[in-house]
Symmetry: C2
Subunit: 352 residues, 2 copies
């Protein structure tokens, strides 16, 4: 039993004195095999510690057992959790994960999408870098099912799992307004992606409902990175008419906002109120705690993977979209301002 690098199904067949067909049958437990033959095959497998080549199997089946996961960055805790959730479901169904970071770069993303097609993966879960420009056509052509998470893809209709962004932004904004703030800034991810666009929408909607004319100088859209959040906050705080509250439109932006506040030695909520969209695991350690809308990330990842599994299994129904409800976690980053009921002069109106 020297260690010949690897044994093949033929080695097993030879040793068991049967054909490869028979071996294949016992391996996949399909087709008829006599007890005797099975025994001998199993024994041969044992003896050689034979393991079928997954590569050959995939090749033969013209479909691999991989799920492609294309996200912007694993280091973003949101995606980290998403990856984990997807992975758990995937491995439970004998699929493994091919991980790609697009870094929000359309070229990179295109490359990876093409790569998944070239690889004939079983399915792809992706978070499109752009609502309008990302195209899953290459996968579509190769009949590889796709599920979009966190963001929509307009060019190719696919199953989509995302947060109810409007509701999340809306309730967060309402929360700020309820504490008497009127000069409220919003720092948001680009509206080229679903989350950015919808969160802006929810923000604006809440402002309007409260009869507050949003100051366009207080609304910023950008890369959705920590650095963007940080710089924008600094810019905002440099103004003579600074906002009294900031709505941070995603987890990284929130991080940047907090960083800037720290750099300026400002206190939350006394000097500035802050709310963020998306919770991060360590946030409860912060003092004061930051009020956020949390996303059910694990559920989203699991669901996305389950839908993908159904598609792989042949589900042909039209694509559906699932919107998950956010969960508001109220902490003390806005409480500072005492009054629920403020009088407001100037033409318009009461807070809600």
């Amino acid at each position: 039993m020297k260690d010949k690098a690897t044994f093949t199904i033929r080695d097993v067949a030879r040793r068991a004195g049967v054909s490869t067909t028979t071996v294949s049958r016992v391996l996949s437990n399909s087709g008829p095999v006599s007890a005797e033959a099975r025994r001998r095959v199993e024994q041969a497998i044992q003896a050689l510690s034979y393991r079928p080549s997954r590569m050959a199997r995939s090749f033969r089946a013209q479909r691999s057992q991989f799920i492609g996961l294309i996200i912007s960055d694993v280091e973003n805790p949101f995606y980290t959790s998403l990856v984990r959730a997807v992975e758990d479901v995937a491995y439970a169904h004998e699929y493994s994960l091919l991980l790609c970071n697009s870094d929000e770069d359309l070229d990179k993303e295109r490359t990876y999408i093409q790569f998944m097609a070239d690889e004939r993966v079983a399915g792809v879960i992706g978070s499109p870098a752009s609502e309008a420009e990302t195209s899953f056509a290459a996968l579509f052509d190769a009949r590889i099912p796709v599920v979009s998470v966190d963001r929509r893809s307009m060019r190719t209709p696919v199953d989509t799992v995302l947060l109810d962004n409007v509701a999340a932004a809306h309730s967060l904004t309402q929360h700020i307004i309820a504490h008497g703030h009127r000069r409220i800034a919003a720092i948001l991810p680009s509206s080229g992606i679903t989350s950015g666009r919808e969160r802006l929408c929810g923000f604006l909607q809440a402002m309007e409902e409260a009869g507050i004319e949003p100051d366009t100088n207080l609304v910023y859209e950008g890369k959705g990175s920590e650095e963007f959040g940080r710089q924008t906050t600094h810019m905002l705080l440099d103004r003579s008419d600074r906002p009294t509250a900031i709505f941070a439109g995603n987890n990284l932006i929130t991080l940047g906002v907090l960083r800037a506040i720290q750099e300026r030695r400002l206190r939350v909520p006394d000097d500035l109120a802050v709310v963020g969209l998306d919770e991060m695991p360590w946030m409860s350690l912060l003092a004061p705690g930051i009020t956020v809308a949390a996303q059910p990330i694990h559920e989203m990842g699991q669901l996305a993977m389950q839908i993908l599994l159904e598609r792989i299994a042949g589900d042909r129904r039209p694509p559906r979209e699932v919107k998950m409800a956010p969960r508001l976690i109220i902490r003390s980053s806005v409480a500072g301002r005492p009054l629920p009921e403020t009088v407001s002069f100037n033409g318009n109106n009461k807070r809600r």
Copy 2:
């Protein structure tokens, strides 16, 4: 140009009026091809938007273009960063990443190792769940190179990239001692893994150098999880002779320690000094800041992947081990203690 699902090399050959051999030659840019033939092949490729099947290629080569990454959990920020670093280097060299979470479970880990072998991946980067028990033999037999990161694997000698754990724990402990603490607790990952064992060693060494007899009731080893850190801290703080300082042996444990401290409304460093091994991206936001020893995670991941690439390229030198230097980040979680030289009457003893 209807969308036949996928074209093969034969379709291209037929359309270009050449043999598959020629097509293959222009694809891989090997062997002699006349300018004319090349032109026609390229044109056919274009026309059909043909893309070679990576599956077939891998199968033919009997080696895939995948790098297996077996870590305990992507959601642990340390591994998240490691994944990212490995991925960047991998993709730059046309490899993609197969991600597996072992959850520190030996069975799961064994399964994944076998899986990587079955998949004939090009190489594996892993962080062994156990120094003594994890075996890469299956990969060894399949001649698949392995690089171990963060932890050693004793059963199979492989290239290893890890932190100088002893130095890190030692300097952290020294830092605490320098501030006058003598009742110092250590909460560490299991000594079944390299990091746990070596960090304990560094801790003990520093204590000994300072002439402090470590109280064995203050040294705990366990799962290395946040929950372990949290519960152990509570237990420690329940004692009548509580420690005045805690050394948290990894990032999750640090998180747990801080959580427990928060739950008890204790103040750092006044009520308790804390140091942690391993930095996390958000730690600088904490007030007070926690003094930690940071690991050069990205460098570790990149290096591991580079070493792996050399092995894949055929490097046959004996396995080497690279130990990376930690970087001490001194913040204010220990500073509270004013004096390097405290008097201690031992019958009882004042708190800090």
